[in-house]
């Protein structure tokens, strides 16, 4: 349970807190942010869903996209996984998948899901994603670029956090 409440809004938080609930960055290395097709995987953390023609796509939060052949909705077939570290949101039009990856928007050709191709990367469409958690009035562990690219945030108990949003 979060401790912040609207009626006790604090403009200047105290940073001298030994232990507090907040967020810490989830990092990915350069090799982990590579876009690639993998064989079908089980869903770990289901997020948003998307339907196109006979296909159902399920976002695995911050990991990638599961592709199901949903021709027979009583028996959907898990046909592959597209690794996209940092993904949350998708939209598909004419075989191109638009997806977020941390700060960037990617266009990926998925006409052959077994061999997807990154078509382009628009940088900094989501400028805040790597800077601080989306939640407001919360402590967070300051990102350290030496640890990699920030692709998301997770709840954690923090010791003497130095960042607040």
């Amino acid at each position: 349970m979060a401790l912040t409440a609207c009626d006790t809004w604090e403009p200047v938080p105290s940073f001298d807190v030994a232990q507090v609930e907040g967020f810490r960055p989830i990092y990915a290395t350069e090799s982990e942010i590579e876009i690639k097709s993998l064989t079908a995987q089980e869903i770990e953390n289901p997020g948003k869903i998307y339907v196109i023609n006979e296909y159902l796509l399920v976002v695995d939060r911050l990991k990638g996209i599961h592709v199901f052949d949903n021709t027979h909705s009583e028996n959907p077939q898990n046909i592959g996984f597209i690794q996209i570290a940092g993904s949350n949101d998708i939209a598909i039009r004419n075989n191109i998948l638009y997806v977020d990856q941390a700060r960037d928007l990617l266009a990926i050709d998925i006409s052959n899901p077994a061999n997807v191709q990154l078509a382009s990367r628009v940088k900094n469409v989501f400028p805040f994603a790597s800077q601080h958690p989306q939640e407001e009035n919360t402590y967070y562990e300051c990102p350290d670029s030496a640890k990699g690219v920030v692709i998301g945030w997770e709840r954690a108990t923090l010791n003497y956090p130095e960042c607040y949003h």
Partner: protein, 259 residues
């Protein structure tokens, strides 16, 4: 002798089945993802009139995708802090934010033009629209425990001046979907609710499936099928009789995961 004959028939049948399935697998190389797909109400990406619209923390971004491989940012519309969802309807974009619902027009120009803002108390909220009625869910989130949990029914006949028609108390509403006279609302850990909206301003609860943790939902009107996503996985239902959803399939997530 009889047994051997029976066995032979069984073997032949199994061979036929194996052949049938291998035949299916062999053409799974390419898939048809032409045309435009459809997301749920929690979506932050949508297409409208050939453009890609994306909401991020505080703005609405317009991308020209006439060259589909190379989305080209042609406009950034600042909205407010706490922008969460986008829903396209006819020539309009309905934006769910923590401060209320914003309506933009792309009727004459791909760059959205502000029409109105329907304010409510600080909360987290997606929106869906059917006819002249918008259904907005408000839930208290982690950043504001004091926010309300309810659904607001808003008349958007005059897009420049949306007016509140009704409010419905909810438990912890997330995504929602509308299909003709049926409205589905995800109640997070509390399950999935089905409302009759024959009278658009007055949703009547007809079923509460408390065993289906739900975060977002897509209604496939043509198939009369529902796809529900939640922390336990993705569940599909036949809603040809909305009073009695029939489960078609479930894709379970690995256990031990929290939303």
């Amino acid at each position: 002798m009889k047994n051997i004959k029976g066995l032979t028939i069984l073997l032949l049948a199994m061979l036929a089945i194996a052949f049938f399935f291998s035949g299916c697998n062999s053409d799974s190389e390419g898939i048809d993802t032409s045309g435009e797909g459809k997301g749920g109400s929690m979506a932050r990406f949508t297409f409208l009139k050939g453009y890609l619209y994306i909401v991020e923390e505080s703005s609405l971004k317009t991308f020209d995708i006439s060259n589909p491989d190379n989305p080209n940012l042609i406009g950034t519309t600042e909205i407010n802090a706490g922008v969460e969802t986008i829903f396209p309807y006819e020539n309009y974009l309905f934006i769910g934010t923590k401060w209320g619902m914003y309506i933009y027009s792309v009727e004459d120009n791909p760059i959205p033009v502000f029409l109105s803002n329907f304010q409510h108390s600080y909360s987290c909220d997606p929106v869906v629209v059917s006819g002249n009625t918008a259904y907005v869910t408000l839930r208290n989130g982690t950043t504001c425990q004091s926010g309300p949990n309810r659904m607001e029914v808003v008349d958007v006949t005059d897009l420049g001046n949306p007016t509140l028609l009704n409010t419905v108390d909810m438990l912890n509403p997330h995504g929602l979907a509308v299909s003709d006279t049926v409205l589905f609302v995800c109640e997070g850990d509390y399950g999935l609710k089905v409302f009759n909206i024959k009278q658009k301003s007055d949703p009547v609860l007809i079923a509460h499936h408390d065993s289906i943790p739900s975060y977002d939902v897509i209604a496939n009107y043509g198939r009369k099928e529902l796809i529900v996503t939640g922390k336990e996985g993705v569940f599909q239902y036949d809603f040809s009789n909305p009073y009695e959803l029939k489960q078609l399939s479930k894709i379970l997530s690995l256990p031990g995961n929290d939303e």
